[in-house]
Structure formats: structure tokens, C-alpha cells
Symmetry: C2
Subunit: 419 residues, 2 copies
């Protein structure tokens, strides 16, 4: 075993041990520890900014894109937000220990299905240093130990945040290893980590497509993927045009760089002539580049022709690709073929058409007459989220505290044996 | 692309298409189709037996173990049981389409969390041909398409069962591809299949450790593992000795070849001198081979000394390895270290000790004063099961119809946009 592997193994063993102890920490103590983590971030703002400046300087020097450096950079405001997020997490209800169901069998056995923490959660992420404190808070709140592995581009920031937030854990009887950071720059550390299925229970990758694919390909541990959002708006022939314009604009331009923004718009052929010219005016006004299918091009002259690749792509930018469809059936099959099963919306006044769309579109979140931008833990009222799962297993859509739990069966008997 | 791969790809595309259509088949039609599958098995008993005889003959010739041939062999009784299992599945409640939760947001959005089929379920299994009809029935009932890949040793039986049960699907408007069989003998077909994460939503391997590891290592698709059962009985110092003896005997010998039978027994040091000699008598009477730790050996002279490997091993046989422990804490850490997180039981009259055990043992099913043999879909009252999951993600313990579903969020608005 290589030296790096030995180091990672020891860190993971510590996290596993901590996870077994976390079950006995009272909810109040966990909440107090999370609040103290928040204060510690605020108190150490200067230190965090100076460590972050090292990462930013290096990133600027290596000529990485401006948006990348922006994601990486901490500011006083962002640190305040990180602390605020922790405070909000502390205020939520403990998701573990709930009796989800209880029943009695004819032989007298009482079976209780109880929510419990998953155990050890591995989080592999890129650039944004706030993920470090967000995920640490969510994991601790739900009684899980976490193993954090941020990108090397943010290593100084992540180490500093980790140092600050774990300092006072032991005061509350919480082992420091409950929030474990893999601070080994070597990528082989990640590959090794992904094989330790006896020490980590689930891995959540957060970042670009490349990272997620890498984790899915190399992991022996179950992975919950937070993949891209190729979200659609379908404007039906029975749509309220003003409502459709509002929702389209909100879903496309309010924050184009996030996964729940729309990337494609499908428009019923019977409404296209009326709707598309109006849509083009307001989108153009916001600087949105339009691409379209051949039928769209006949209505919106001069826009770029969409190619096959466009239908799959998550631009995360002010680009919208438009297709004219024959009806809701074509819209549904298009979305099920090209979408990423994230969030898709229909605008229509026709209830039956809406019901068909909501039932047959195979996505985590399907909307009738509302913007896809609501796919979000806070907006759903769940509180902070670890991300938006595009998998169908275990967690689908916003993944918050409840989804950081699994369950166990507790069976109470009086000597029952099986005949 | 190789010819085999092209063939598998076409089969998978068919299954995916079928899965999207299954959502629109009324529950009654699915039930009638499943009942017709049951009758078809009975009507074609002769044909099934003759095809199965080909597999059995080949297995006998290649000198495979007797228990393997036994698992492979169909009899009139077993075919009746397969049909009975399908009838039972038809009688269960449809697990999809349930509103799991519904709430309203301050902005007026109504959010419904609704259970829906997962989509396409891949099942990779060995020897037992009844898995073919059981899994087909469970998948269809829950609205999922399934892709079945049985072992090459049972290929004639599996193809025959598949042919018989899919014959009348179309009468009920169900595409035949809803139950797809990968009848390509080449193992490269499995490797290729495991990479098709856009066509299969979850893979469930059922079989020996080797198969499960192979699938987990090669799959890009989420896997729910049904791993071994290294189950424990802990006999506490406050145990009712007669009850402990009954539960021990039941959990060990009633059916030693299954995953919920106990393989290890932990005994509190204060009761060991009284309990172990009695236990040895009744176990010996049933032909159970005992192995023990050094402290056990001092009480039960002449039994085999346990080695480290024993504590991890699933014997599936009349062998029981015994350890004397200092108390419930040692029992818990032993189980969490060596167990397979399947089913573990405590016998004690002390409520506090029981509570500690039930809370801290990190297994799917934890029992107080009852046999581990109850870990089973039927025994839990869930009906037929696809297996016992030892994973913590999505499904834990008996995996039945409810666990073959995921959920989606349906959000109903009146033009809401995000500010």
C-alpha cells in the first residue's frame, strides 16, 4: 500500500468510527455545534479570506476562466451566507429517529420502520468552497459522518474552512473525524477512496459532467449523481400566452448558470406563429441567443439552426434552443429522449393535456404553469439541500436532510420463531 | 460495435420504450396479465420440465455440485409454486401512483410527491429459474420493465419460462419487451449491458458473492446489492435461557442455507457457563458443527477453534461460531465490524440493554427476542420480494413492490415565477 493510500485509509477509518458514535449525540448538541460552526466562520473571516486569496491568485495565474475564478472566490458576503446557511440547518427538524411506519404481525411481532442516518457520506466536489461548510452542516445535522474531498484549485480555502468549523466539535462530544477532509492533492487518493465500500456508504459528486462521470465510472460505493439540468418548457396550444412569456423569461434569464434554468423550449405548432415572435422580442431584449429547428427558423428568420447536439446540451448561459412540435405527445417523447430528467414544465389551460404531461414526462420535477426555477430545497420548503439528484434511486430531485437518511427495521418479539 | 453488443442494445432500447408505455396500462390489466402468466406456467409444465431437463443434464455432466443442480432443477411442485407466487403478486396493491406527501407553499404552489415506477430494472441472477417468473411478475406489477439475465447454466429453462409468460402480454396492451430476456450466452453481453446507464435505471444482482462483486465493479448503472447474510444472535446476561435456546435453534437449523439464518452467536460472559453447555447439547443433536473463541473453548471442550476468517464467513451450512463477550457494547462492535448489516438479534429481559442493541447495531433488521429468520417480504407482510438488500441506499432489508418504485414531484402552479 502506498503512503497516500495509507493516509486516506486512516482518515476513512476515523470517519467510520465517528459515524457509529454520532447516533448517540443528542439533537440539541448537534444543533449547538452547528451554530458554533457558523460563529466560527464569521469570527475567522479574515483568515478565511487570506487563505482563499492564495487559491484565487493561483487560479488567476493559471489562466482559468473568469467564471471559474468567480465560483472559487470568497467574499465577506459569501462567508456571511455560509454562516447563515449553517444557522438555517441548525433550525431544521432532526430527520433521524422518526418512526416511518409501524405494524403488528399476526404472530405478535411488532415491526417498526425507523429513519436512521446513512452512515458515512463521501462528497467529491469542485471549486465552490461553500460546499465544505454546507455539506458538513447537513451531514452532522442528519447524524452522518462526512468525508469531504474538494478540488485542488480550492485546497487552501477548504482546509481553512475545515479547520475553523471542526475546532469546537469535541466540546459537544462530537468526534472531529465526523467531518473528515481528504487534504491529499494527488488524484490517486480519490480513486483509492472510491473503492472503500466498507468505509463509505454513499458518494455524492458535485461538479461538472467530467467529475460526475469519473466518479460513477470508478466507484464501488453507491453514487447519487447530481448531473446536468437540460430543462424544458413546453408551451401548449392552449397556453395563456402572457403567462408562458413570463415563465419562459424567468426560467431562462433569472439565473442562467444554474441547473434548473431552461435550456430548451418546445412550442405547439398551432400557437407558434403567435407566440414565438413575442418570445423572440423579450428574449432578445435580455440578450438571449436563440437557436431553432427548421420550423422555428421559418417563423424567426435569421436565428441559428439547431444541430442534434444542441438538444442534449446544458449551456448554463443565455442561449435557448426552440423546437416546434405537433402536440403534447411529441413534446413528451422529445423530453424523455433528450432531457436529463431534472425539471420540465408545461404551460396550458387544458387540464387533460397538463395531466398527460405531468404523468408521462419522466423527470424528477414536473411543473404545470410554473417556472422550473423552483426546483430547489429552500423553494420546496425542505431547507438547505445537498444538491439536485438526477438519479432515480434513493433520492430524486432536491436532496435535503430526509434524503440523507436511510431506514432500519426494529422488530420486537416475545420469543417468536419461524415455523 | 460487435454483433452481440448490437443485439443487446436493441433489446435494451425495446425495454426502455416499453417502460415508458407501462405507465398507461391500468392496474387491472397488469393484474390480469400476471394471472395469465401464472396459468401459462401451469399449462406448459411439460414443456418447461423438458427444457429444464436439458440444463440439468448438462450440469450433471460438468460435475457441478449437487446443491447447485438442486437449485437449478424444476419439478411439478416448483412450477406450481412459481405460479402461486405470481397469483399472490397479482393480488397485492399497486405500489405506484400513491401521493406520498402533498403540501402548499406560501406562493401558492402545490407540491405533490408521488410514487412512480423506477423505469427499467436489470436483474442479473444465477441458477434458480424461478427468479425469472418472480422478477417478471414483481416488475410488471410495479409498472417497471425488466431486463432479465440468468446464468448460462439455466439458459434453456429461462428461455422457456420467458417464452411462456410473455406470450399473452400483448392481449392486455402490454408490450412484450416489458419483460426482456438477454438470451446471449456470451459474458461480454453482461459487461456491455452494465454500461448502458441511459437505458437501465437500476441493476439488482442475485447470486453468490462473486457475481455481486462483478456487477458492482463493472456497472455504471446504480446497483442494489443483495449480499451475504452474516447474521448474529447475542445472548445477553439477562436472557431467558429457554427462549434463547429456542431462537438459537430456529435461527440456525430451521433452514441453514438461507441468508437470514444465523452464522455466529455472541454470549455474555456472565451467562456463558450456564447457557453454552445447554446450547451445545441441542445443537449437537441437530448435527451443527461448533467453532469458538478461546473463552468458548474453555467451556465447550473439544470444539474447533475459530480463526479470524470465521467471523466474516457466511457458511450457509450447519456450522455456528461462538464468541464469549464482556457485554452488549462488545457485542455491538463485533457485529458492526464483522457482520454484513443484514439481520441481528438480541435475547434479553433487560429493556435498556435491548434498546441500546437495537439502536447501535447498524443492520437492516434488528430483533429483540425473536428469530432472525423473519427477515423476509412475506413474513414482514409485504408480499413477494425481489430479495434482501444489504445496501443502505434506496432499499434496505426486504425489497418488495414499494422499493421497486421511486417518486417524482408534481408541482401545480398558476403562473408562479421565482423572484
Amino acid at each position: 500500500m502506498k503512503k497516500i493510500e495509507r493516509k486516506v485509509l486512516n482518515l476513512l477509518k476515523g470517519a467510520k468510527e465517528a459515524s457509529l458514535k454520532l447516533g448517540n449525540i443528542p439533537a440539541g448538541d448537534k444543533d449547538r455545534a452547528i451554530l458554533e460552526m457558523a460563529s466560527a466562520l464569521l469570527k475567522n473571516t479574515k483568515y478565511l479570506l487570506s487563505e482563499n486569496a492564495k487559491d484565487a491568485a493561483l487560479a488567476n495565474k493559471t489562466g482559468i476562466s473568469k467564471s471559474f475564478v468567480d465560483r472559487l472566490t470568497l467574499t465577506q458576503k459569501r462567508i456571511k451566507e455560509m454562516a447563515g446557511s449553517l444557522k438555517q440547518i441548525a433550525s431544521l427538524k432532526d430527520p433521524a429517529g422518526k418512526i416511518l411506519r409501524q405494524w403488528k404481525r399476526p404472530n405478535g411481532l411488532i415491526i417498526k420502520k425507523v429513519s436512521v442516518p446513512i452512515g458515512v457520506i463521501g462528497i467529491i466536489y469542485e471549486s465552490r468552497p461553500n460546499v465544505t461548510s454546507d455539506c458538513a452542516g447537513l451531514s452532522l445535522k442528519s447524524g452522518n459522518a462526512c468525508v469531504l474531498r474538494g478540488g485542488s484549485e480550492a485546497i487552501n480555502s477548504n482546509i481553512a474552512i475545515h479547520k475553523v468549523i471542526t475546532k469546537s466539535l469535541e466540546k459537544f462530544g462530537i468526534p472531529m473525524a465526523a467531518i473528515t477532509m481528504i487534504d491529499v492533492a494527488d488524484r490517486s487518493a480519490v480513486e483509492f477512496l472510491l473503492k472503500q465500500d466498507s468505509l463509505i456508504d454513499v458518494v455524492i459528486p458535485r461538479g461538472g459532467e467530467g467529475l460526475i462521470r469519473y466518479v460513477a465510472e470508478n466507484s464501488l460505493i453507491p453514487v447519487i449523481k447530481h448531473y446536468k439540468g437540460v430543462c424544458h418548457l413546453y408551451v401548449d396550444k392552449d397556453a395563456d400566452i402572457e403567462m408562458a412569456l413570463d415563465i419562459m423569461l424567468n426560467a431562462k434569464v433569472q439565473r442562467p448558470g444554474v441547473c434548473n434554468a431552461i435550456e430548451k423550449m418546445l412550442v405547439h405548432k398551432d400557437i407558434a406563429h403567435k407566440f414565438l415572435p413575442k418570445a423572440a422580442v423579450v428574449l432578445d431584449d435580455k440578450g438571449v441567443e436563440l437557436r431553432g429547428c427548421l420550423k422555428t427558423l421559418k417563423i424567426l428568420k435569421g436565428i441559428k439552426k439547431a444541430v442534434e447536439k444542441d438538444w442534449y446540451e446544458e449551456y448554463l448561459d443565455l442561449i435557448l434552443t426552440i423546437k416546434v412540435v405537433n402536440g403534447v405527445d411529441e413534446a413528451i417523447s422529445h423530453i424523455n429522449k433528450y432531457g436529463s430528467r431534472h425539471s420540465d414544465a408545461i404551460v396550458t389551460k387544458n387540464k387533460l393535456t397538463a395531466e398527460k404531461f405531468l404523468k408521462e414526462v419522466d423527470s424528477a420535477c414536473v411543473y404545470h404553469n410554473a417556472s422550473t426555477r423552483f426546483t430547489d430545497g429552500y423553494q420546496f420548503g425542505m431547507g438547505a439541500e445537498i444538491g439536485i439528484s438526477t438519479d432515480k434511486i434513493h433520492a430524486r430531485g432536491p436532496m435535503a436532510l430526509e434524503e440523507l437518511c436511510t431506514y432500519k427495521y426494529i422488530i420486537l418479539g416475545s420469543g417468536q420463531i419461524r415455523s
